[in-house]
């Protein structure tokens, strides 16, 4: 199982990479972490004429804060994001989600930008960017544009990225301390693709919800906020048991589960209901909503 033949380019600057991409457009594949692209090549599901390796481009992996937002370079490796003090302090949802992303060796190579560009419906990070209202910054020879995460993901494996564009960084707003975050997921085993994942952010005044954002991973074709569920929780205590039951009852009407594969849509919806209840109950504990399961990492 070896990849098909391709040309290989290893640009030393972003300008050089953008020129190559402009020249080859959809015949090119951008190689960041390679943890999805290389399996796709090995399985010969894609046959790009040229692979553009962006691993030598400087400054594409910085993680920084300006007090209002955390900016994460597109090539930041999952384990570097997971262990970043900026992320652990201000983006606990992202850190919680990263604990579910694949395995150590994969997280040593895989990148945030790569996960977003692929837009696998089962991936955790696209859902997190929608839930955290992130902005995805992309560059081409035509210039730079910023796309809000909710406009970025179009369909299964499909994004707003044009064929001459590269993601350069992702900007996450820093929310005030009233916000609570929880990501959890149900998968067959640690690190496997999610049967269902849930990113839940709630702004709580005392325990009462004033704003909330609910985004599933691995459930629909692409991540989006579910306003019908969000409305249920606003104005009441976060883990109000009646609201949990109302939300569970509403799930089947407002979620369009993925079809095909090994799981029936009905089973996926069942998992979604149980996951939703679990996450909301966890959110009732403010400590839990900011904590990670592996403090030692």
């Amino acid at each position: 199982m070896k990849p098909p033949r391709f040309e290989y380019a290893c640009p030393q600057s972003l300008t050089e990479a953008l020129d190559l991409l402009d020249e080859h457009k959809s015949n090119a594949a951008v190689l960041a972490g390679g943890q999805s692209l290389v399996p796709i090549l090995n399985l010969r599901m894609a046959k790009p004429a040229i692979v553009i390796d962006i691993n030598r481009i400087p400054d594409l992996d910085t993680i920084s804060s300006n007090g209002r937002q955390i900016s994460i370079g597109a090539r930041a490796r999952h384990n570097d994001v997971l262990r970043s003090p900026h992320v652990r302090l201000h983006l606990p949802l992202l850190a919680q989600a990263l604990e579910h992303v694949a395995h150590e060796a994969i997280r040593n190579r895989g990148t945030l930008g790569g996960s977003l560009a692929l837009a696998d419906p089962a991936a955790e990070l696209p859902a997190c960017t929608v839930c955290l209202d992130a902005e995805i910054v992309v560059r081409s020879n035509r210039g730079e544009r910023k796309i809000t995460a909710s406009d970025f993901f179009k369909r299964i494996y499909s994004t707003a990225l044009e064929e001459d564009e590269i993601i350069t960084r992702i900007d996450f707003p820093i929310e005030d301390s009233f916000w609570r975050f929880r990501f959890d997921e149900i998968a067959r085993r640690q690190g496997d693709f999610a049967i269902a994942g849930l990113a839940f952010a709630a702004r709580c005044d005392e325990a009462k919800v004033t704003e909330c954002r609910i985004v599933f991973a691995g459930v629909e074709e692409s991540p989006r906020r579910i306003p019908e569920l969000e409305e249920i929780f606003i104005g009441a205590n976060v883990a109000d048991e009646e609201n949990i039951q109302r939300a569970k009852a509403a799930v089947a009407d407002v979620i369009e589960p993925l079809t095909g594969g090994e799981l029936s849509p009905a089973y996926r919806l069942h998992v979604v209901r149980e996951l939703l209840a679990r996450v909301v109950r966890d959110l009732a504990h403010p400590d839990m909503a900011r904590s990670l399961s592996h403090e030692c990492l």
Binding site: P4, R5, V38, A105
Partner: protein, 180 residues
């Protein structure tokens, strides 16, 4: 290997401390390069799409899937495989602990397991059993049922902590002694 206009490139890197210069096909994986061109066959090729963990190799201090990195990407890199003559204390101790606990049967997964477990112990000297299982969740073993492997990593961690306590002159070592 470079027949038929196969695109190739020159690389220079170090493998287990030795300088290596080679011309590689750009689509050759790191693990195929290390096995077929260098002759180090301790890194195993299992699934070839990043699922099984048998091909683990340390590149610039980090464990990576050898089947998901191209050899050409390691130009300038420091590569360490299970065959290194200067294993870290964690690797050495884990090799002994795996032997002692018989934490292998066919041995195909063992090099990948040991490199991944060593990375865990270098970051977290006292992992819980759950943490060990999480850290090794990307390494398949089809023989042991994993229990002995988790035991061996736990024992290796305790040995390393003892060693660290000894070398720092501490007389009384207290392990964490978790039994989760």
């Amino acid at each position: 290997m470079n027949a038929y206009d196969e695109p190739s490139a020159e690389i220079s890197c170090t493998i287990n401390g030795e300088a290596v210069e080679a011309r590689v096909s750009v689509r050759q994986s790191l693990v195929d390069f290390v096995r077929h061109e260098i002759g180090l066959t301790g890194s195993h090729v299992g699934c070839e799409h990043g699922v099984c963990g048998a091909c683990h190799i340390v590149v610039d201090g980090r464990v990576v899937r050898g089947c998901l990195m191209l050899a050409v990407q390691t130009n300038g890199a420091k590569i360490v495989t299970i065959e290194t003559s200067q294993p870290t204390a964690a690797v050495r101790t884990l090799q002994a602990a795996f032997y002692e606990r018989a934490a292998l049967q066919c041995g195909f997964c063992t090099p990948g397991m040991i490199l991944q477990a060593a990375e865990l112990l270098e970051r977290e000297p006292s992992p819980t059993r759950q943490q060990i299982r999480d850290a090794l969740s990307g390494n398949y073993c089809r023989c042991t049922g994993y229990h002995a492997i988790v035991d061996a990593v736990e024992a290796g961690a305790a040995l390393l902590r003892k060693g660290a306590a000894k070398s720092s002159g501490s007389q009384q070592f207290q392990g964490k002694g978790d039994s989760t």
